[in-house]
Symmetry: C2
Subunit: 441 residues, 2 copies
């Protein structure tokens, strides 16, 4: 049909970010070749290895002989939170999901500190992230947890990726945001300045600690921010509950939330991606949400999007129903009524008289022989129903039985009475003006 | 019908225990008269007040000048557990519910230590307790929590009760147990000996503490055992969850279990009264169950009754289903399909062309105008469905929407397309060999 062709191809175009200018679509890409002893090194993205493994190791080594001033420690932690927020409140909730709108000053701030986390430009990050939401857990998901926890954590950066593989998404709104475009164009400058120079300037000019500024507030802080936010792709798809949907991998867990500035309620987030909150309960940890809310009070953010309580609860109810249905289907609920043999009333009475422990309740005959001695109401009570229509007795005439008793009863079914209960047969017989045979003796 | 008259009257007979020999059914009973300034003292069961309030006060006063030996303290605690078990494992689970069978030595032991708890004879206790189960929360329940927490705790003993009121139950099995009959007949002797004399003898002959034996291991220990077991009637009907049935008052709570030697899983117990367990999980506190199980290993107890896991889980599933249904009914699931106006396909297309944000999905027209700007997949994607049959698009053709999206969509319903989706109309038109009008422009 027309709409299929009018839709863009689901494979990423060359003009989208994340493309290598040297990429030649006519050659077989390395990721389409099996890894061997001879070519393994070509599967590795050595630039990324240097950036996210090499530099941190260098930082650790340097830290051995770089004294740590307490001011630098405080500053590194503060800047850790600021750059982390740049990713969670900026890259993620503002740009990837447009879950709220931000004024230009706030956008500049977020693009700047987000750049300082060294995780790529907004444009590249948001594009991949939208593909992750649209194609969660599939081949087209850039960091699918189905390829392993470590792969989703940083394997997807350390290994080369096939540019054709990642699903495409609409990023026209990002291309219209001058802040995003500027940051993308000047990304290298932004990273160097916000990642290393700026934290060094603060501690250098502030309290004379130039080296500590670059090692602690720069390199090591970058390492921690990266590892923490990578957890949204790994831990958040691996650890915790699935209160809204268990068909895909996203999960809710407080540990992930603590590590990721509140991005740990990820099952909720994949279900309601454009909600500016990730944690919906007041007592859950979501400092990103708190910051956005504060910016709103300060006039810096507006149009905070939020799914209605009604919509959220419907999702929860459906998932609970699904779990309950699974549980129910594993239990024995007795032979279905339509699989039972049909019995004549007289036949039932006869068999009961001849010593079979049969009780008719609600038109169904039950064999209670094995249960008489275990009956919580005593042998006498239950025996008084044998060979009779015990419907009323069982349902409150003598004792209003519990759900448990009804459930147990249904496992003892042996037949259905033709015409239903005694009363129905009686009435029918009267209507037909016949003698009522089964009462004669 | 016959079975109703063949059933015993639900009101207790005079020959049953708990009857006052002086009771004259022809006079108006005091409980049928309103309480006034002039007659209030006649509403009170002074004997019981003396037994469960007076004596403990006397014990407390005596304790002031009675030194407490550590041996006596240990003995009082041990005897507290023994007499408590007499009630929970003996009176309750063995005799009231016949949840297992016991050899004569064990029956004698339980009747003896149970008597030492000073809560009446087995026969009287079990009869009332069976009435409590059969008529839970009704007028005929001897200790209905509906009359107040304090009433169910000990008000029912402190206040006079109308002998006619309490529901009747079958105790023929108890009348056949010689241990029960003997204990009932010699109840006063049993109480005096097991309640006071025996604990005194042990600490008197053991370490010379006659006074402490009677005050601590006797009177005060009785007080604590009584208050603890009374909690089964009060706290267990008031505090906690109802995992199996919430129509009546019984509840599960670990605090009640800790206080009552494991009788705290009372919602379970009322649903499965003849199960020898009250706690079904291994990690829950039920020393009464542990004791019965131990006696079984020792050959003293046998035929331990237990409901199958299947039956227990069915009850749990049903209660969860009930709660879920309640929750579901409070949510807005959109206008039901059969209350929607019917629309022609052409009419839908026209209206969409004229600027109304309408999308047809699965034969239902939705007004998404307000939602376009909030769409998590972007404005372009959702707008591409306007005026078309977006069923396939919405259901995976472009993006496989979540439950949340389906739920939200159903709140936007405005009409049903006559004949269903575009494809159906197309097919029908082809069958009828007509020109397909809506495609012509
Ligand atoms: C037909 C005549 C029956 C009579 C008059 C009768 C009477 C009673 C009474 C008075 C109780 C309350 C005992 C107590 O809680 O201490 C009771 C409990 C119970 N009965 Fe029956 N019963 C009958 C048949 C059955 C049958 C056929 C079943 C088979 C499943 C059954 C299963 C139960 C169960 C599981 C309980 C304990 C749970 C509850 O309180 O509902 N009864 N019955
Ligand atoms: C008719 C054409 C539509 C297309 C092509 C489309 C496409 C998409 C795409 C690609 C996403 C994934 C975005 C992401 O997770 O980052 C998405 C998400 C979503 N869409 Fe649509 N959409 C359409 C219509 C609708 C409509 C009519 C609704 C109305 C309720 C809707 C509600 C949602 C919601 C709630 C989500 C986020 C939750 C989820 O992942 O399912 N969409 N849509
Ligand atoms: Fe995710
Ligand atoms: Fe996201
Ligand atoms: Fe109870
Ligand atoms: Fe009980």
């Amino acid at each position: 049909p027309q709409y299929l062709s009018s839709q863009p191809s689901p494979v990423a175009k060359k003009s989208e970010p994340n493309r290598n200018r040297n990429y030649d679509p006519t050659k077989i890409h390395i990721t389409d070749q099996p890894m061997t002893k001879a070519n393994w090194y070509r599967h590795i993205n050595w630039l990324n290895v240097f950036l996210i493994v090499g530099i941190p190791i260098y930082g650790c080594v340097q830290a051995i002989w770089t004294p740590l001033y307490w001011q630098t420690a405080v500053w590194a932690v503060l800047y850790y939170f600021a750059t982390g927020l740049g990713i969670t409140a900026g890259y993620h909730r503002l740009w990837a999901h447009t879950s709220y709108s931000a004024t230009v000053p706030l956008r500049i701030f977020l693009a700047a500190v987000g750049g300082g986390a060294v995780e790529g430009s907004v444009r590249w990050w948001a594009r991949d992230h939208r593909a992750h939401h649209r194609y969660t857990d599939t081949e087209k998901d850039p960091y699918s947890v189905r390829k392993g926890l470590l792969y989703s954590h940083f394997g997807w950066m350390v290994m080369k990726q096939n540019p054709k593989r990642i699903g495409r998404t609409d990023i026209s709104d990002l291309n219209e945001d001058p802040v995003v475009v500027w940051q993308h164009r000047h990304y290298l400058k932004v990273v160097l300045f916000m990642g290393l120079v700026f934290p060094m300037l603060v501690s250098g000019l502030g309290w004379g600690d130039w080296a500590g500024g670059i090692i602690y507030a720069g390199i090591l802080r970058i390492f921690f921010v990266q590892q923490a936010t990578f957890c949204v792709n790994s831990l958040a798809h691996w650890l915790g509950d699935q209160p809204f949907d268990d068909r895909n991998s996203p999960r809710d867990h407080v540990i992930t939330a603590l590590v990721t500035l509140g991005e740990g309620y990820h099952n909720f987030h994949h279900e309601f991606p454009s909600d500016y909150r990730n944690a919906i309960e007041w007592h859950q940890y979501d400092p990103t949400k708190w910051s956005i809310w504060m910016w709103k009070q300060m006039g810096l953010a507006y149009d905070l999007k939020q799914f209605r309580h009604n919509e959220i609860e419907k999702g929860r109810v459906q998932q609970q129903q699904k779990k309950l249905d699974q549980k129910r289907s594993q239990l024995d609920w007795g032979v279905p009524l339509d699989s039972l043999p049909v019995m004549e009333w007289d036949d039932y009475v006869d068999q009961a008289k001849n010593g079979r422990g049969l009780v008719a309740i609600a038109g169904v005959v039950h064999d209670i022989s094995q249960f008489i001695k275990d009956h919580p109401g005593g042998k006498a009570m239950i025996s008084s129903g044998i060979g009779k229509d015990a419907t009323a007795m069982f349902n409150g005439g003598v004792y209003m039985h519990s759900n448990a008793a009804h459930n147990l009863l249904s496992t003892m079914r042996v037949g259905v009475v033709r015409g239903g209960c005694e009363v129905e047969i009686w009435k029918r017989a009267q209507r037909e003006n016949k003698d009522i045979q089964y009462i004669k003796d």
